[in-house]
């Protein structure tokens, strides 16, 4: 334990996700000891981020205006929507430059253990977006874990009554990997999701 405010800083940093006690200590001492480190700038950004960042009223992505950059971009294809769990998933898919449509951020996945049900996610907003018939395809890109799959199944069933093409991102082999090192679950999924060439 350190004296007073140093320990307070370590404790606060330790509350951040992915930061353990050792990392928290290292960051704290970096802040304390590195002269070139601009503390006031970090403090300013932290304050600003809470004030300025808004969640897009259409898709739920983060941005600095009421509509995010992607929803405002007229070059994007409004007929397809990719459904993701978190805003960070938007960034991941954007990096691929493969998808030119719009997004819908759910804000999590169905997880009764964490008290999250369908009503706690932005599913109702998704249905509203689909109501005018502009959207013809919904791509579900929830995480490939049990909660992500449950969420995908729930949405798929909900959309069954609507005239819209629904697909789920393929599960498959990591690119650049060796087939022999893939575990059976991944390999089995890759078989299920195979396609004709």
């Amino acid at each position: 334990m350190y004296d007073g405010i140093v320990q307070e800083l370590i404790d606060e940093l330790g509350r951040l996700p992915g930061v353990g006690p050792k990392s928290a200590q290292r960051i704290a001492f970096h802040i304390l000891q590195t002269e070139s480190f601009d503390v006031s700038r970090l403090a300013q950004v932290l304050t600003d981020v809470r004030e300025k960042v808004k969640f897009c009223e259409i898709c739920g992505n983060v941005g600095e205006e009421s509509r995010c950059g992607i929803c405002r971009d007229a070059r994007r294809d409004p007929s397809s929507i990719c459904v993701v769990e978190e805003a960070k998933d938007v960034v991941a898919i954007e990096r691929t430059r493969e998808f030119r449509g719009l997004y819908h951020v759910l804000g999590g996945s169905i997880s009764p253990m964490d008290g999250v049900g369908p009503d706690d996610l932005r599913i109702r907003q998704l249905l509203t977006r689909l109501s005018d018939g502009t959207v013809t395809e919904v791509i579900i890109a929830t995480d490939p874990n049990m909660e992500g799959e449950a969420t995908a199944t729930y949405i798929t069933r909900l959309l069954a009554s609507i005239e819209v093409k629904v697909s789920r991102l393929a599960f498959g082999l990591p690119v650049g990997g060796d087939l022999e090192y893939a575990d059976e679950v991944t390999l089995g999924r890759a078989f299920e999701g195979r396609r004709t060439v």
Binding site: G20, P21, I110, P112, M113, M146, D183, V185
Partner: protein
């Protein structure tokens, strides 16, 4: 396969131990409480991702440390490889194979071990979860995919139980069961895989158990192993996955009201048991102490035989303080049954307990320090 080197850092009372092994029988001798079992327990941790003595990995870490490392070098035919695991007091454990990160649950793909210990009696005498744990270890080694299925099933089960509990507080008429149906389907599909594999595992074990029991006691006895499952009632042992899934779905529907009332899932592989019978009577409650020991040894011997046919060669056989529990006759027969395995590690408090074995190396263990001893 055999271990050529084992290193322990901050593992229980071993601050730093580095042990070189050769194939054949290696003996660890020392008074109780000095750290013999800790050496072989560490191998179990590498083979299964958990200890045979405790489910809490915090107990495995030296009390003065926050991280403990167990690393082994293995040889099978001409191939060598390394596996290691670091156990963390704060945070999750990490495993590696040949220096590359792997999932802890995938450790059974790289190192196979079978441990005989006084705890084996619990498989027969204790609660059903001991027997489920036993059969699940077996199927995870025979079909490595199952370890992922089992952990997914446990996750889905927790989710479904949480949902059932939260539904309990909602008036019956207002309950929305649409998300429950999604978890139910997952329970059935994953649970069916487990039931099917357990059934196959139990069938595969039967003959080897009969043979092993005969070798230990020296005479023939009728033995049956039967899965006891509400899903599998009146279902033949060689039922297909589809049939099991159908029965499972029916059982889930029948149990739904009950599950909603109690806030828990009452059918599925997490509630099942395995019945062990000897001479047409349950071993639990009917067999003598000696018969129970023989049965437990037969189960483990059968497991070792089953693991043998795998691409990794022989499993590493560990005999942890078992000879002291057995009479001279059983000691001798157990040693004879295991003599053909590539590597056998034996721990004992005193040498007198050990039957005649072709001992290749001997170590003394004292206060967590392992030292090579002269063979006498």
């Amino acid at each position: 396969m055999h271990i050529t080197r084992l290193r322990l850092a901050e593992y229980r009372n071993h601050v730093s131990s580095d042990i070189h092994f050769s194939p054949g029988v290696t003996l660890f001798i020392g008074p109780n409480g000095q750290g013999k079992t800790n050496v072989v327990e560490a191998i179990h941790v590498l083979a299964f991702g958990s200890s045979h003595r405790t489910h809490q990995s915090a107990a495995l870490i030296n009390q003065h440390a926050t991280t403990s490392v167990v690393a082994a070098e293995l040889t099978h035919q001409d191939r060598t490889m390394t596996v290691d695991i670091s156990l963390e007091r704060n945070g999750s454990n990490r495993a590696r194979a040949n220096g590359h990160p792997i999932r802890v649950r995938d450790l059974p793909r790289y190192l196979h071990a079978v441990i005989f210990s006084p705890e084996d009696l619990r498989i027969i005498r204790d609660d059903p979860d001991e027997r489920r744990g036993f059969i699940d270890d077996v199927i995870s080694v025979l079909w490595p995919r199952l370890s992922a299925v089992i952990s997914d099933y446990e996750r889905v089960l927790k989710q479904r139980n949480s949902l059932l509990k939260s539904l309990r507080s909602v008036p019956r008429a207002q309950r929305d069961l649409s998300t429950l149906a999604i978890w139910d389907e997952k329970i059935v599909s994953l649970g069916t895989e487990i039931l099917f594999a357990r059934q196959a595992g139990i069938s595969a074990l039967h003959e080897p158990v009969v043979t092993a029991y005969r070798n230990i006691v020296g005479s023939e006895h009728p033995i049956t192993l039967t899965m006891r499952s509400r899903v599998m009632e009146n279902v033949h042992a060689d039922a297909s996955r589809d049939l099991i899934a159908d029965k499972f779905t029916v059982a889930m529907i029948a149990a739904l009201e009950d599950d909603l009332d109690r806030g828990m899932t009452s059918v599925g592989p997490h509630r099942d048991d395995v019945d062990f019978e000897l001479n047409s009577l349950p071993v639990k409650g009917y067999a003598s102490q000696g018969e129970t020991w023989s049965y437990a040894l037969a189960l483990k011997l059968a497991t070792a035989e089953l693991f043998r046919h795998d691409a990794l060669g022989d499993p590493i056989v560990i005999l942890d303080d078992v000879f002291a529990e057995l009479d001279v006759h059983r000691r001798h027969n157990l040693a004879a049954s295991l003599s053909s395995f590539e590597q056998i590690l034996v721990t004992a408090a005193v040498k007198d307990d050990i039957p005649p074995l072709d001992i290749r190396a001997s170590f003394t263990v004292s206060r967590g320090i392992v030292e090579k001893a002269e063979l006498t």
